[in-house]
Structures are given as structure tokens and as C-alpha cells.
């Protein structure tokens, strides 16, 4: 029996095929799927913020792009993944509210996406597919078996990347 493992805001989960990983309602947050196809192991980190550096309270590693990716790599490694085989797909990073304020939180999605890319680059990991930006939410389901990432939206279609 395969399970669909739910990943909440600021959470990290691992899954082995035939299980799948899902996170619902990504707005400015980003879902980072890192997977090792050879052993059919995948992980999903639902990050909220770009960097733990400005945080007063950085205990929860999965909340930030920098520490979240590090956490995922460590946990993947402990479960037999090989770093050179790892591939990455990401989704989210939208700008949810439309108004003309110049407040920082309005650009948080964009800043999240940039931080994810930078951190992945630091670990020499490649993003092979991304569905980020826009002004709409995304619900994503990741299948570690095929590496398929299903992105569902309200009014902006459904796609597999």
C-alpha cells in the first residue's frame, strides 16, 4: 500500500517509493523536492523564509531555505542517498497579494526562490525543473519512483514537471 505523506508549513519529510510526498497550498513558500532516483528515495521541504541568518529563533531548520536544504541533504545521506546522484525540483514562491505596497513581505516569494537557487548552487545541486512565481497558490505531489512533480492550482491549470 502506498501512502501520501503530508508535509506542513515549515516541515521536512522523507519518503521511499511507493509512498508519495504532498504539500498543500504553497503561496510564497517553496516546496523543495530532492531525490535519488537510483534508490527511489525522495524528500520534501516546505520552506517559508530565505535565510536563517536574520532569524531570532532559527531552531526549526525546515523553515528556512539555507538550513532546510542542509537538513534534507543530511537526512537523505543518512538514508543511503549519494549526493552526486541527487536531483532537485522546486515549486512555489508566488506573490499572493496584489497591491502596490512596497513592503518586504510582498516580495518574499521571489526572495525565497533566489535563496533556494543560491543554496543549491553552493552544494552543486541542479534544479531540473521549477514552477515558481506568479500570483497563485500551488498544491504539489511528488513521486520518488518516477521523479514526477504534479503541480495543481486553482484557475491556473495542472501540470507535471
Amino acid at each position: 500500500m502506498s501512502k501520501i505523506i503530508q508535509v506542513g508549513m515549515a516541515e521536512f519529510k522523507l519518503a521511499k517509493s511507493p509512498d508519495k510526498l504532498m504539500t498543500a497550498g504553497l503561496g510564497s513558500c517553496i516546496g523543495i523536492c530532492i531525490f535519488d532516483k537510483a534508490i527511489k528515495l525522495g524528500s520534501l521541504t516546505h520552506i517559508m523564509l530565505p535565510s536563517s541568518a536574520q532569524a531570532r529563533n532559527p531552531q526549526n531548520a525546515a523553515k528556512f531555505a539555507d538550513t532546510g536544504i542542509e537538513l534534507a541533504l543530511n537526512e537523505m545521506g543518512k538514508n543511503g542517498a549519494v549526493q552526486s546522484r541527487l536531483l532537485v525540483k522546486i515549486a512555489g514562491g508566488a506573490q499572493m497579494f496584489k497591491f502596490s505596497g512596497e513592503s518586504d513581505i510582498m516580495k518574499i516569494g521571489e526572495r525565497n526562490a533566489m535563496a533556494v537557487e543560491e543554496t543549491l548552487q553552493k552544494f552543486k545541486l541542479k534544479i531540473i525543473a521549477a514552477d515558481t512565481g506568479g500570483n497563485y497558490g500551488r498544491t504539489i505531489t511528488f513521486d520518488p519512483e518516477s521523479g514526477d512533480l504534479l503541480v495543481r492550482t486553482i484557475g491556473h491549470g495542472e501540470r507535471t514537471i
Binding site: G8, E11, L26, G27, C29, N60, G137
Partner: protein
């Protein structure tokens, strides 16, 4: 400074509930006047929740909702979020525009309907904030409200990101508006920024241990 919301005393929680009561009471009256209908409200609930559980309050991260958000700056910065299920939002628009219920459909909001929703949110949130300001004697300067129509989780996370840098939990003051007894119209959230809680509580003369 209260860093850990779980240290709040019973008295402090009561004071917060009272704030919710007064703010939402005024907002419910404003809503009733606009709609020409009777609007009831629940006793406010104060919850301290981890981020991951907040979307559950409004039917799950996946549910299709309309969210109106505004940020109030001043001596006690806070965030206000009014969230209602999409089908209820459609009804409200129909009622506001005096049209038969069911005419507005979730997938085809036009500018006129969006602006009706915006106006509705404007009045409700401004009323809430005014009541809060009168009650606490603090000054709250509201931002222009922002409107989002999408998944509940997606709307919430942009707002929760403000708290993410300093906390893993959020204090939610929640009131439900109902019309004709069972119909849940919407949820009203007041999310004080972490440092603001002290300011609000001391303005009410509730000391913090």
C-alpha cells in the same frame, strides 16, 4: 517580553478574548448594515498554534477561499486577515449588489465584483481596527487591504512569513461570523506581531508576570 505564548495567564487570555469580542462585534454590525441581514458572531477563540496547523482552522490548506489582509503599523503592529470560503464570498457579493443568490460564480469574478469584495473587506477590517484602537487607546495605522482569491494555505503563508523569522507559533484570535444561525460566513483573525502582545496587554492594564 512574552516570547513563549504558552506562558500567557488566564487573565491575559480573557483580555485577548475581550479584544476579539469588541473588534468583531463592531465588524459584525457593519457587515449586517451593509447586507441588511442579521449577522451573529461566535465567542472569540484564542489559540496558540504551530504554523502547520493554522490552515486547518479554515478548512485545510487546499480549500478555495477569499482572503483580505491588512497590516496595521503603530505602537503594536498586528495583522488582520478576514477569510471566507469562496462560495460564501459569492453570496456576499450577490447580496451586496442586490442580485439573485448564485449569480456570482467562483471562477468569473469581474472587476465590479472584486471591488465589491474589496469594499466589504475594507469596511469590516477598518471597523475592527477602530474598535481595537478605542478599546486599547493605542494607535493602529492600517495599510491598504490586499485581496487574494486562492488556496487557504497559500494566502496564509504570505502572512505567516512575517512571524517565521521570530517564532514557530502564532497567536490567533479567531471569530466566526454566521448568518441565519448555521451558515458560516467567514473567519476573522487578529495576529499580533510578537512584541505587540505586551503593548496590547499592558494598555488594558493586564500586567505580564
Amino acid at each position: 517580553m512574552v516570547f513563549d505564548f504558552s506562558e500567557l495567564s488566564g487573565l491575559e487570555l480573557d483580555a485577548l478574548r475581550e479584544i476579539g469580542n469588541i473588534g468583531a462585534g463592531n465588524a459584525a454590525t457593519a457587515l449586517a448594515q451593509m447586507l441588511g441581514a442579521k449577522i451573529d458572531m461566535s465567542v472569540p477563540k484564542v489559540s496558540i498554534l504551530p504554523f502547520a496547523e493554522v490552515p486547518e482552522l479554515i478548512g485545510g490548506a487546499d480549500s478555495h477561499v477569499v482572503g483580505l489582509y491588512l497590516n496595521a503599523s503603530g505602537s503594536a503592529p498586528a495583522n488582520i486577515l478576514f477569510i471566507l470560503p469562496i462560495n460564501k464570498a459569492c453570496y456576499l457579493v450577490d447580496m451586496l449588489m442586490s442580485r439573485p443568490l448564485g449569480e456570482t460564480q467562483p471562477d468569473n469574478f469581474n472587476d465590479m465584483q472584486l471591488s465589491a469584495l474589496m469594499e466589504l473587506g475594507n469596511i469590516i477590517t477598518a471597523t475592527y481596527l477602530n474598535a481595537l484602537a478605542m478599546f486599547t487607546n493605542l494607535d493602529f495605522r492600517p495599510s491598504v487591504p490586499a485581496l487574494g482569491i486562492d488556496m487557504a494555505g497559500a494566502i496564509l503563508d504570505a502572512v505567516l512569513a512575517i512571524f517565521g523569522a521570530v517564532a514557530d507559533h502564532v497567536l490567533v484570535l479567531e471569530t466566526e461570523f454566521t448568518k441565519d444561525e448555521e451558515d458560516i460566513v467567514g473567519h476573522f483573525f487578529l495576529l499580533p506581531e510578537p512584541g505587540s502582545l505586551d503593548t496590547i496587554l499592558s494598555s488594558l492594564g493586564v500586567s505580564i508576570g
